[in-house]
C-alpha cells in the first residue's frame, strides 16, 4: 500500500490526500508519437509483434492488443504498485515507466497510431 501511495503521490501529490483518485483520472501531457513507438518496442519483445503473442507461444505472456486502454493502464499501475499476486517480472519492469508513459502505452496498444517515428 505504501508503494501504491507513493506512486499516486508522484503523479498527483494531492490525490493521496483527497480520495486516492487513480492516476488515470489525471490527464497528462501526451508523449511524442515516436517516443511511444519506441517504448512499445520494449513491450513487444515479450508480448509479441504489435502486442500479439505469436502462434508458437503457450499463452503464458498475455496479448496487449485488443484490450481497453483503461484496463491496460490499471494493470500497469497495479504491477508498479506491487498489487498483482503471483506477478513475475512486471513489478520490476514497470518501475522504469512513469504515469505519462504508461498512459501512452495503454492508448498505443488499445489503438496504435499509424504514424511512425
Amino acid at each position: 500500500m505504501r508503494q501504491a501511495l507513493t506512486a499516486i503521490k508522484k503523479c498527483a501529490p494531492w490525490a493521496a490526500l483527497v480520495l486516492l483518485l487513480p492516476c488515470a483520472a489525471q490527464p497528462l501531457p501526451s508523449l511524442p508519437v515516436q517516443d511511444v513507438a519506441l517504448l512499445a518496442g520494449n513491450c513487444v519483445t515479450c508480448h509479441g509483434p504489435g502486442g500479439r503473442p505469436p502462434a508458437e507461444a503457450s499463452g503464458s505472456i498475455p496479448a496487449l492488443r485488443g484490450r481497453s486502454s483503461a484496463l491496460l493502464l490499471e494493470r500497469m499501475q497495479a504491477f508498479k504498485a506491487g498489487r498483482v499476486a503471483g506477478a513475475t517480472v512486471m513489478p520490476l519492469l514497470m518501475q522504469g515507466y512513469d504515469t505519462a508513459q504508461m498512459q501512452a502505452l495503454a492508448r498505443w496498444f488499445a489503438a496504435p497510431p499509424t504514424e511512425t517515428p
Partner: protein, 422 residues
C-alpha cells in the same frame, strides 16, 4: 547531413517517375547493417517500418541464424537444432536486401564497406552488430585449434553441435568441466544456465557424472538463485569454484583435456567447455570503433560510435553502460538505432531512447528464473531506472519457477517473431 540533402535533391530531380514515398525526405539514403542477429536484424526490420524510403542492406554470412539463447536447451536435448534457427525470408519480404557475405573492412572516410567477395557497399549510415569474437590470445593454450577439442560453444553453430556430440559420447561417471571468464562477456547468466541444463541432461542419462565450474570471478548474474536451484535440483553433482577458491584458469591443454588454475591446480575433464574472454566482432575493430577494452564505446541516446561518425554499434559488441550483453537488450537497442537513423535522415527529432531487458534462465524443465531492468540516458550516460533492476525472489514457490520457465519459452517465440518472423 547537408551533403546528404544535396544528394537527395539531385536524386529527386532525376527520378520524377518514382512513387511519392521514394521522393520523401531521406529518399535514396543507404543504410548498411552488418550482422543478422538480435541487434542487426532488428535494425533492418524496424528501419523498413519506420523509414520505408531508406534502402536497407543487411550483411550476414549465414543463410540461417542459430541463436545462443536456447542453445543450452539444445545441448540438454530439450529442443531441436532446427527450432533455434531463423531464416531471412521475412526480412526480405519487408524490403531488406539481404547479402550473405562476410564484412571484411570499413572505410569511414569514403563511407564504404568491403565484403569478402571484393564487393563494396556505400553507406550513409553504417550499423555494426557483429556480436563477439573470442580473444584467442587471452588464455594460454586456447586457440582456434584447441576449440575443436574443447569447444567454447559461445557462438551457436558448429561449436554447439560439437559440444552436444561430446556430451552424448561422454561415459557415465565422467566429468564435465566448464571454464568461465571474467566480465564483460556475452550473456552473463549463460554459463550458469548451461551448467544447469547439462546437469539435467547428465542426471537423466549419465547419473554418476559430475560437473565442475571453474570461474574467474566471485560473483555472477542471479548467483544466489542459481546456487539455491543447483542445491535443490542437483545436490553435490555440480560444484562451482569461485576466483577466491582458485577457480581462475590460466592455461588450457586441449589435447589432454586438462586445465591449470592460477594457483597451479590441475583439473582433468572428459568434456571440456572453455568459454574464453571475448571482444567485439572483428569488423568493429576494422572500422576503428573499438577502444583498448576491445569493445565499442557508444552514445547512450542513439548508440552512435563515440569514435567514428556515421557508424552505430549495438548488441554484444557495444559498451552500453549497465545494459547487459543479451539478445533482449540487442533487440531493444536495434529499435533505438532504427528510430534514431529514421529521424536523422528525415530531419525529425529523434525519440527518447528507452531500453528494457529481461533474461530468463532455465535450471531444469519447469524451473525458470529471471533478471530484469530498464535503462535510459541520464546526464549523458546510460543508467538504470531506480528500483527497476532485480531478479526473481529466492525461496519462491514452484509455481513461480514454472511460470518463469513458461515465460522464457514464450519470450523466445515473441522475440523471434519480432525479428525474423518465426
Amino acid at each position: 547531413m547537408a551533403a546528404l540533402h544535396r544528394r537527395q535533391l539531385l536524386l529527386g530531380a532525376a527520378s520524377l517517375a518514382a512513387p511519392a514515398v521514394v521522393r520523401a525526405q531521406g529518399a535514396g539514403a543507404r543504410v548498411v547493417v552488418v550482422g543478422g542477429g538480435f541487434g542487426g536484424a532488428t535494425v533492418a526490420r524496424y528501419l523498413r517500418t519506420w523509414a520505408p524510403q531508406v534502402q536497407v542492406t543487411l550483411v550476414e554470412p549465414a543463410d540461417r541464424f542459430f541463436t545462443c539463447p536456447f542453445s543450452n536447451h539444445y545441448l540438454a536435448g530439450l529442443r531441436s537444432w532446427d527450432s533455434i534457427g531463423h531464416g531471412y525470408d521475412g526480412l526480405r519480404a519487408t524490403g531488406v536486401q539481404v547479402v550473405h557475405a562476410r564484412a571484411e573492412d570499413v572505410d569511414g572516410q569514403r563511407r564504404s564497406l568491403r565484403l569478402h567477395t571484393g564487393q563494396e557497399l556505400r553507406w550513409d549510415r553504417l550499423v555494426l552488430s557483429p556480436g563477439v569474437d573470442m580473444r584467442w590470445d587471452a588464455l594460454e593454450g586456447y586457440d582456434r585449434a584447441a576449440a575443436e577439442l574443447a569447444p567454447h560453444a559461445w557462438k551457436a553453430g558448429a561449436q554447439t553441435l560439437l559440444l552436444r556430440r561430446q556430451l552424448q559420447a561422454m561415459p557415465d561417471g565422467g566429468r564435465f568441466v566448464m571454464v568461465i571468464p571474467d566480465n564483460p562477456f556475452r550473456c552473463p547468466p549463460g554459463p550458469y544456465e548451461r551448467a544447469s541444463l547439462v546437469a539435467h541432461y547428465l542426471r537423466q542419462h549419465k547419473p554418476r557424472s559430475k560437473l565442475l565450474l571453474l570461474d574467474a570471478k566471485n560473483n555472477f548474474s542471479k548467483k544466489a538463485l542459481f546456487l539455491q536451484g543447483w542445491k535443490a535440483l542437483y545436490g553435490d553433482m555440480l560444484e562451482w569454484v569461485s576466483l577466491a577458491q582458485d577457480g581462475q584458469v590460466v592455461r588450457v591443454d586441449a589435447r589432454a583435456l586438462e586445465v591449470e588454475t592460477a594457483f597451479g591446480t590441475h583439473h582433468r575433464a572428459d568434456v571440456l567447455n572453455v568459454i574464453p574472454p571475448q571482444k567485439a566482432g572483428l569488423i568493429a575493430e576494422r572500422a576503428g570503433v573499438t577502444d583498448a577494452s576491445g569493445w565499442a564505446p557508444v552514445r547512450g541516446e542513439n548508440l552512435a560510435s563515440q569514435r567514428v561518425a556515421g557508424i552505430h554499434v549495438l548488441g554484444d559488441a557495444a559498451l552500453a553502460g549497465p545494459i547487459p550483453k543479451s539478445g533482449f537488450a540487442a533487440n531493444n537497442q536495434g529499435k533505438v538505432v532504427a528510430a534514431a537513423i529514421a529521424a536523422e535522415l528525415s530531419d525529425k527529432t529523434p525519440p527518447t531512447a528507452w531500453y528494457a531487458n529481461t533474461c530468463y534462465s532455465l535450471l531444469a524443465p519447469g524451473y525458470g528464473i529471471s533478471v530484469s531492468g530498464v535503462y535510459r540516458v541520464q546526464q549523458g550516460r546510460l543508467a538504470d531506472l531506480p528500483h527497476s533492476v532485480g531478479v526473481s525472489p529466492l525461496d519462491a514457490p514452484a509455481g513461480h519457477r514454472a511460470a518463469e520457465a513458461n515465460h522464457g519459452a514464450d519470450w523466445y517465440a515473441a522475440i523471434s517473431a519480432d525479428i525474423w518472423d518465426r
